[in-house]
């Protein structure tokens, strides 16, 4: 379970001002839930994922986690650009206590990078980085996956494989996906939430969430 209690976050801007991104987010995400979090560009979706993952800290409020949570998946973070995809897989296997050879093989199969797998990550296209990032996180096998919409977009065959892999885990793991598109969320999620003006509103029914999002 992940519990957010009155979470606030703002960022300092150049010139001494600051922008409040989250202003009192409270929510509980339980095991087996697949929640689509809808929000416009700049609503704070990525910030919310970064706080839940623990990469950044809230200014006020609490975040309790009693399950392992992936890093936010989507953009290319969480890997090293100067070493190869295979070396990244070895690194991940070491820190998350996974068998090294199997992890390297799993990531190679899943990410389908071909010979690029043995080349430095900095030579990858953004799509390749997304595939590598997702494959690495699936190799670790987290209890909860934090997904950015780009995972579902992109090359459609990979998106389909990724959907299958995540749906396969959904029974035993939690999934939080942020998106600004209702269709993307609909393909993955069973319930929804809307992030607007720094606050999060949960809806038991995904269609309700989508309706509220479009109405806002």
């Amino acid at each position: 379970m992940i519990r957010l209690e009155n979470v606030h976050k703002s960022y300092k801007l150049h010139g001494g001002t600051s922008k409040a991104v989250l202003r009192g987010v409270s929510a509980v995400f339980g095991k087996g839930e697949a929640v689509g979090i809808l929000g416009r560009n700049g609503a704070g979706k990525s910030t919310l994922l970064r706080l839940i993952s623990g990469v950044e800290f809230p200014e006020a409020g609490r975040i309790q986690r009693n399950m392992s949570i992936s890093w936010p998946l989507g953009h290319a973070a969480a890997m090293h650009y100067s070493i190869s995809g295979a070396d990244n897989a070895r690194f991940i296997a070491r820190i998350y206590e996974k068998p090294i050879a199997e992890t390297v093989e799993f990531v190679e199969d899943f990410a389908e990078l071909g010979q690029y797998y043995r080349q430095p990550v900095r030579t990858y296209s953004s799509g390749m980085m997304t595939r590598l990032g997702l494959a690495l996180s699936l190799a670790v096998d987290f209890d909860c996956y934090l997904l950015d919409e780009v995972v579902a977009a992109g090359d459609s065959r990979f998106a389909e494989r990724c959907r299958a892999a995540l749906l396969d885990r959904r029974a035993r793991s939690t999934m939080l996906m942020v998106s600004h598109q209702a269709e993307t969320v609909r393909a993955f999620c069973t319930s929804g939430a809307v992030l607007k003006d720094g606050r999060l509103t949960r809806y038991e029914d995904l269609d309700q969430a989508i309706a509220a999002y479009h109405a806002a």
Binding site: S53, V55, E56, F57, I69, P72, I95, E97, L138, D141
Partner: protein, 265 residues
């Protein structure tokens, strides 16, 4: 890929994860810093070896005598190599956070882990280099360390001091880029005061007292006691060294903890 990753809190498990993370970070640091091409990991020793030899050779050929009849090449090399470690740890600390931010996406990896891994690697490399030099001096000049344990302890004390200062610098660098800009100047300007290239007994009495306020001077004196034994006078205060090590590390940890909370990854 069957069992999932649980986040346990018991101590044994926490320690195991800690060691795993440190090991993985050290291996990664080696491959990102040196790669697998040409000399590869040997560069770890090559750089301090070459610099140490160059400095030693320079002073050997210019041929100034040293008080106490100390061997010129031996003195400069054994002063420069520990100083190299000190400077390297301190100079590289401010850029450590920016250079490794992507690691923080893994909640198991803390800023302390990143700095610890770097500094342990640096320490091991420089201690390896010192060992190579000391073996070479022993075999060619028949100058063997009198109390090797003190050389090791002196090196460890210096590493621990630099690590503590490094934590503070890394934390400061999260607030302002100025830290990274100023530190190179600082280590350069303070080089003559570090104790790397003088011994306390060379100085007049009042200056000795002042020199002994500087923490790394004690480490250098301890290393030299280990090298020369009692053939020359050495002065160091273990209590003073330990106090500085604890103070720097505690302050560093505290600052890092505060800075981490406002770090934008």
């Amino acid at each position: 890929m069957s069992s999932s990753v649980a986040e346990g809190t018991d101590w044994g498990r926490a320690m195991r994860i800690q060691f795993r993370v440190l090991g993985a970070l050290i291996l990664r640091e080696m491959s990102t810093r040196f790669g697998r091409e040409n000399l590869g990991y040997l560069w770890l020793f090559a750089e301090p070896l070459l610099l140490g030899s160059a400095i030693g050779a320079l002073h050997h050929t210019t041929g100034h005598g040293l008080p106490g009849g100390l061997h010129v090449l031996f003195f400069w090399v054994t002063g420069y190599v520990p100083f190299y470690m000190f400077r390297s740890v301190i100079n590289r600390a401010p850029s450590a956070v920016v250079a490794n931010q992507s690691l923080l996406y893994h909640r198991r990896i803390t800023l302390l882990d990143i700095l610890l891994a770097r500094n342990l690697l640096e320490g091991a490399a420089v201690m390896g280099t010192l060992l190579i030099f000391l073996m070479a001096f022993g075999m060619t000049l028949n100058l063997w360390p009198q109390e090797p344990a003190l050389v090791v302890l002196g090196m460890i004390s210096m590493l621990a001091m630099s690590h503590g200062a490094g934590l503070m610098l890394a934390a400061g660098a999260i607030y302002t880029d100025l830290v990274d800009r100023v530190i190179h100047l600082f280590t350069y300007v303070t080089m003559p005061f570090s104790g790397a290239f003088f011994m306390v007994f060379w100085l007049p009495t009042d200056m000795q007292r002042q020199a002994l306020w500087i923490p790394p001077v004690h480490s250098f004196e301890m290393i030299r006691r280990g090298l020369y034994g009692t053939t020359v006078p050495t002065t160091y205060d273990v209590g003073y060294m330990v106090t500085w090590i604890i103070a720097l590390n505690l302050a560093g940890l505290l600052m890092l903890r505060v800075a981490r909370r406002r770090l934008v990854v």
